[in-house]
């Protein structure tokens, strides 16, 4: 809502020096979101005057037609002589009154004006367009004024070019502030000044001879006021003051009848509609549409109506969508000038509609037809049903005043009875909500200021004013009191929060994982969870794979990516690709986030019950809500490309490899204090020979390794890109693990090395397991320090060299004891994996 201060001052006697910024500050404190103050004409400087065109000489020797005009500007130029002005516009004739800016003036821009040579003439100023004066930019031609203004009259004042306009973002609960009346009320309260309510005007009582109206749907329309005016001059134009106010309020002047309805809507917040009476066939009827019924609206669009749409009809059918937009058929006719006689024909009899429609109905219709009109905007937020009669009267008065019409005596006013809604509220509730003592007297006064009637002492019975349909609950009333007393005056206190227990184990674990992976050289990313079929294809994930069973979005941002991720890899690889594309060739990324998995085809999935809100849902209902949701487990994933160590003065580069991917998984497992078992596996999208399946006990928790070259190619990734993904929920399924302190033996360690030759197919993990089992309790640690293949041990075989460290808790081991344990370890390896000692 744009509110010109000059207009606002009509209803509130604000102090003379009060600026837009001052008023803005006051209104913001009272809860109006005043987003800005526009200073109109701030850099404008006269002389800017009314001129009368005396003569026009057409200059034809230029690329475009140019006019050299003599304009009478009265005494404004100090000489009284006509002013010579060159003008490129053509929408005026000799005798027209125009706006002339004289040398020495400054137009908005700022754009200083001086006499200048142009098109072979001296132009002593300019004839102005609306755009040049900062009045709006929808008209290209110059302004032609009504004939009644004398040449030389100051046009800055005449066109009200200097003003300030408040720009207010009206929240959903304050529909009444979509009007000067509402904003003036808030301003009056904020300044403690009286309000001149524009709706308090004399209105004749309803009678039976007004325009015929039938309301068939009283739930949708609980108020319908209709008035009529005859003898309207179709040639009459909106007066400048009205046009200017409409412009400043951000709308466009169109025609007198439309301007008047818009003006009254801006003033009182009541949307009005004007019909050409001759184009209405029979009684105006308010009813719901028949499904599929059609109507061509004012904007020229033919609309197919829904059975929920509320319509204004006559005997011929729909003539408007109630409260949203009128139909083209009953529009006020454009004035037509007969070129021979000069006679103007057009609408001469007008019916004014001022109705009140159900907000939800209007909101749904406006949304359905994508018609967020000024009228719909107001009805949705709530219009004062009691303002309808005054608004209709105001429109009638204006038609009489500026269009020469005559008001007919008939007044139609159809009112559906609606109960008075009173709210009972403890007088000290605002104090208790605010945490500050206002006292009953203040509470009552503030409620009365916003228009409530208040009775009672300890318990107040409060009836909100008709323009505040948002006031329904005791807390709504508290807000009124607290905001008017000033949110800025609230004290600052802290509640006594009961002792807390800090983060949960799962929350702490995610932190540990993040720190561990980042410390290991990985960079965290947070990717969008949206994926499409294309990336699953590229990864080579086959039909029937559960990762293909995605949760789908009805209205995705991109139709290429309409699903939610079932794995973290697409997002991670996308981010990897982006980094490489930007020249960061050595990248290790990780992400912690949820994936969305559909398990099976439970009928409850995606079908959440619609539960009431006037009570707590039952445990069963809560379970139904949860059953409608897909599983959303937490995962951690990582991807790697390029070098882990760059080439440097220390030596050759070291690439990120499958082993780093497995190591990242181990880093996560260590943070979770679980031990990870690694098994050889084949799992898409990993390289079939370089894929590790990761287990906790017998539970598969994820995979790591190098990606399949086909997937790498399809996604245009660097060669030998590696990846890891783990399900955190599965990883920690065993619950929090408490670290056990080891017994530290201070006896000396006995180290024994052993090199075992095994078949190439034998896995290092199996050899290690055998050695550990065979070595017994004296084994403190074991480490593989070399893998060797070569002729000396034969083809298809490898030698694994281990360092074994033995130590006892209670004594120094003898060489024999250590050797015995070593031999036992070797024997077990021989039994389990056919290992032989390398000779």
């Amino acid at each position: 809502m744009r509110v010109p201060l000059s207009w606002l001052r009509e209803y509130v006697d604000l102090p003379a020096g009060e600026t837009g910024r001052d008023i803005q500050a006051k209104l913001i404190r009272a809860g109006l979101e005043v987003e800005g103050v526009e200073a109109l004409g701030a850099d404008l400087k006269g002389p800017l005057v009314v001129g009368q065109v005396l003569a026009i000489e057409e200059l034809t020797e230029f690329k475009k037609p140019i006019r050299y005009c003599q304009v009478d500007v009265g005494d404004a130029n100090g000489t009284g002589e006509p002013q010579n002005i060159v003008c490129g516009a053509r929408n005026f004739a000799v005798g027209d009154k125009v706006v002339v800016v004289l040398p020495g003036a400054v137009l908005p821009g700022p754009f200083p004006i001086a006499a200048r040579q142009t098109y072979g003439k001296t132009s002593e100023g300019m004839i102005c367009s609306a755009r040049e004066l900062g009045m709006g930019d929808d008209h290209d031609g110059i302004i032609v004024l009504p004939p009644e203004y004398e040449p030389g009259t100051d046009a800055i004042e005449l066109l009200e070019l200097v003003d300030e306009v408040l720009d207010i973002a009206v929240t959903a609960d304050r529909g009444y502030c979509l009007s000067l009346r509402g904003v003036a009320r808030e301003t009056a309260i904020a300044y403690g000044l009286p309000l001149r309510d524009p709706a308090l005007i004399d209105v004749p009582p309803a009678n039976s001879y007004g325009p015929a109206v039938k309301v068939e749907d009283q739930a949708g329309c609980d108020r319908f006021v209709a008035r009529s005016v005859v003898g309207v001059d179709p040639a009459a134009k909106s007066p400048i003051w009205m046009q200017r106010r409409i412009q400043k309020a951000g709308m466009r002047p169109i025609s007198l009848a439309v301007d008047i309805t818009n003006y009254v809507m801006l003033e009182m917040g009541q949307p009005l509609h004007a019909y050409d009476r001759h184009r209405i066939d029979g009684a105006i009827t308010v009813r719901r549409a028949a499904q599929g019924e059609k109507l061509r609206t004012l904007d020229g669009v033919e609309r197919t109506l829904d059975a929920e749409d509320l319509l204004i009809c006559d005997d011929s059918g729909p003539i408007g969508i109630a409260g949203v937009m009128g139909g083209a058929g009953t529009e006020i006719a454009d004035a037509v000038v007969d070129p021979e006689t000069g006679e103007v024909t057009g609408t001469t009899e007008i019916v004014i509609e001022a109705a009140h429609f159900a907000p939800v109905s209007i909101a749904r219709t406006a949304r359905r037809h994508k018609l967020p009109s000024e009228a719909a905007k107001r009805f949705e937020r709530g219009v004062d049903p009691e303002a309808a009669k005054a608004a209709a009267q105001r429109a009638v008065d204006l038609l009489v005043l500026v269009a020469g019409g005559t008001a007919e005596a008939g007044v139609t006013d159809i009112v559906a009875p609606h109960p008075v809604h009173a709210i009972s509220i403890a007088a000290d509730l605002p104090d208790r909500v605010a945490g500050q003592e206002y006292g009953r007297e203040t509470v009552v006064r503030r409620l009365q200021e916003v228009g409530c009637t208040v009775v009672g002492t300890d318990v107040l019975v409060v009836t909100p004013p008709t323009w505040r349909p948002d006031l329904t609950d005791p807390n709504d009333l508290c807000e009124e009191v607290i905001r008017l007393e000033g949110y800025e005056n609230l004290p600052s206190t802290l509640p006594n929060v009961p002792a807390g227990r800090g983060l949960t184990e799962a929350q702490r674990l995610r932190r540990r994982i993040g720190i561990a992976l980042a410390s290991a050289g990985h960079v965290e990313v947070q990717n969008y969870p949206f994926i499409g079929e294309a990336v699953l294809d590229a990864l080579g994930i086959e039909a029937g794979d559960p990762r293909r069973d995605t949760v789908k979005i009805a209205n995705p941002i991109s139709h290429e990516e309409p699903s939610l991720r079932t794995t973290l890899l697409p997002g991670l690889l996308g981010a990897l690709h982006r980094n490489v594309g930007r020249g960061m060739m050595d990248v290790a990324l990780f992400e912690l986030g949820r994936v969305f998995r559909v398990d099976g085809t439970a009928e409850t999935l995606y079908h959440a019950p619609r539960l009431p809100v006037d009570r707590r849902p039952t445990e069963d209902e809560i379970a139904q809500l949860d059953a409608a949701l897909p599983r959303q487990p937490y995962r951690v994933g990582a991807v790697f490309a390029g070098n882990r160590e760059p080439q440097g003065w220390w030596g050759k580069p070291q690439a990120w490899t499958w082993a780093d991917a497995v190591e990242a998984a181990r880093t996560v497992a260590d943070a979770a204090r679980v031990s990870l078992t690694v098994r050889q596996d084949q799992h898409t999208p990993w390289h079939p020979g370089r894929c590790a399946a990761l287990y906790v006990g017998e539970q598969l928790v994820g995979h790591a390794g190098e990606l399949h070259p086909r997937a790498v190619k399809a996604l245009n990734l660097p060669e030998r890109t590696c990846a890891m993904e783990l399900d955190l929920d599965l990883l920690t399924a065993g619950g929090a693990v408490r670290a056990e302190a080891p017994k530290i033996s201070t006896f000396p360690v006995a180290t024994q090395d052993v090199a075992l030759v095994v078949d190439d197919a034998v896995k290092a993990a199996d050899v290690e397991a055998a050695l550990r089992a065979g070595a017994g309790p004296l084994l403190e640690s074991l480490r593989l320090f070399d893998v060797y293949r070569g002729e000396s041990i034969g083809a298809g075989r490898k030698s694994l060299a281990y360092a074994l460290r033995f130590r006892a808790a209670d004594r120094t081991l003898t060489a024999d004891e250590a050797s015995a344990a070593r031999e036992s370890a070797v024997a077990e390896a021989a039994t389990r994996v056919g290992a032989t000692l390398r000779g």
């Binding site: 609230l490 002792a499 290991a520 941002i557 079908h607 539960l611 009570r615 707590r616 849902p617 440097g648």
Partner: protein, 369 residues
């Protein structure tokens, strides 16, 4: 060793003559002095102090002397050997110092060589910022509550007093699931607040709910369809707007420094009543840029205040939907976007930098923010 010989005079034994002992001593001292490195010194040591050195051999002769002569000869040889030992030790210290000085110089390196051998990692500032907020509130006694990102509409909307016709429940703002009834991508973490209230058999409930939320906006410099929120909910007996204000003040002081406070401006949200917009004093200019064109402030556009988000007293209707008696309990809540706070706290100019995962963006933020 030979037996004592009573008639034996040490002076008569060639090796034990005083001038001979002196000569041997002086030879040793000269050899040590002449040694120019530790190897040469070692050779000199073997020659003059070793088992077969003349002084050692002379020493051996003493045993054969008659007792009366032993003392004098022993004294003479002992003094000489002492002097030799001492000279050796001194020369060794000298030569070692020389060697150390030389070797350490030779071992010198260019310590300004660059070393970017180990890969550098970092955590995303959205993560660490949320953690920082969690730490502020867990320190106050709050718990951190989490919930699903795909959420039932009743939990995301209805229970929050956002009826079926609320404008936010349109495809303009909300992602809906295909072929689903009343299931959406959560538009805020408020569903977690509702879950917290439902899970508590009875207040008090003090929770903070961080998490990812979704709105159907296109990604641009200031919007993202997926973003992170932190919401707070406190429900207890006798909670007031003053408590809300105090909690906000505490939060911004914790995050932005001593003396930074908040202000509340009336606003409208369905789930709170009264509702407010919360601003904080600009932590950069502390308001000094207002009306001061010489000191413009980019962070607050010289407004002096930075908008944080929405807050208010929990609408009693929300409590009713969760089975909590609104006559006994009241609550306050607030919520804001972490991206926005990250942007103004760290001068992030483009939202896309936050969401695209460019490592250059994330690395400077390190492990904690």
């Amino acid at each position: 060793m030979s037996a004592p010989n009573k008639s034996y005079d040490p002076v008569e034994v060639e090796a034990l003559k005083p001038e001979e002992i002196e000569r041997l001593r002086d030879e040793a001292l000269a050899a040590f002095a002449a040694a120019t490195d530790l190897d040469a010194l070692h050779e000199a040591k073997v020659a003059h102090m070793g088992d077969r050195s003349p002084l050692a051999l002379a020493n051996r002769e003493i045993g054969a002397l008659p007792p009366a002569a032993k003392a004098e000869a022993g004294k003479r040889v002992g003094a000489a050997r002492g002097a030799v030992n001492k000279a050796f030790a001194a020369r060794k210290v000298e030569l070692e110092a020389e060697r150390d000085a030389r070797v350490l110089v030779e071992e010198a390196v260019d310590v300004t060589l660059p070393y970017d051998r180990a890969p550098r990692g970092g955590r995303h500032p959205l993560t660490t910022f949320a953690e920082r907020l969690m730490d502020v509130f867990t320190a106050m006694g709050y718990s951190v509550a989490e919930g699903p990102e795909v959420e039932a509409e009743w939990l995301n909307f209805d229970a929050l007093n956002m009826g079926p016709d609320h404008p936010a429940r349109s495809t303009q703002d909300t992602f809906f699931l295909k072929d689903a009834d009343s299931v959406v991508l959560r538009t805020h973490t408020s569903g977690v607040q509702i879950r917290s209230l439902l899970a508590a058999s009875e207040p008090p409930v003090y929770v903070i709910c961080p998490g990812r939320v979704f709105r159907s906006d296109e990604l641009d410099a200031t919007h993202t369809p997926v973003f992170n929120q932190v919401e707070l909910l406190a429900v207890d007996e006798g909670l007031t707007m003053a408590d809300l204000k105090g909690t906000l003040d505490h939060m911004v002081e914790s995050l932005f420094g001593e003396g930074i406070s908040t202000r509340l401006r009336p606003n409208y949200f369905p789930f709170t009543e009264p509702s407010a917009e919360m601003d904080m004093v600009c932590f950069v200019c502390r308001g000094e840029s207002v009306g001061n064109p010489d000191r413009p402030c980019r962070t607050c556009s010289s407004e002096g205040w930075i908008e944080l988000g929405g807050c208010g007293m929990v609408n009693p209707r929300v409590l009713v939907a969760c089975g909590i008696d609104p006559n006994k309990y009241s609550g306050f809540a607030f919520g804001f976007g972490i991206e926005r706070m990250l942007m103004f706290r760290h001068n992030v100019e483009d939202m896309r930098d936050i969401v695209e995962g460019d490592v250059r963006f994330t690395l400077p933020f390190g492990m904690e923010i």
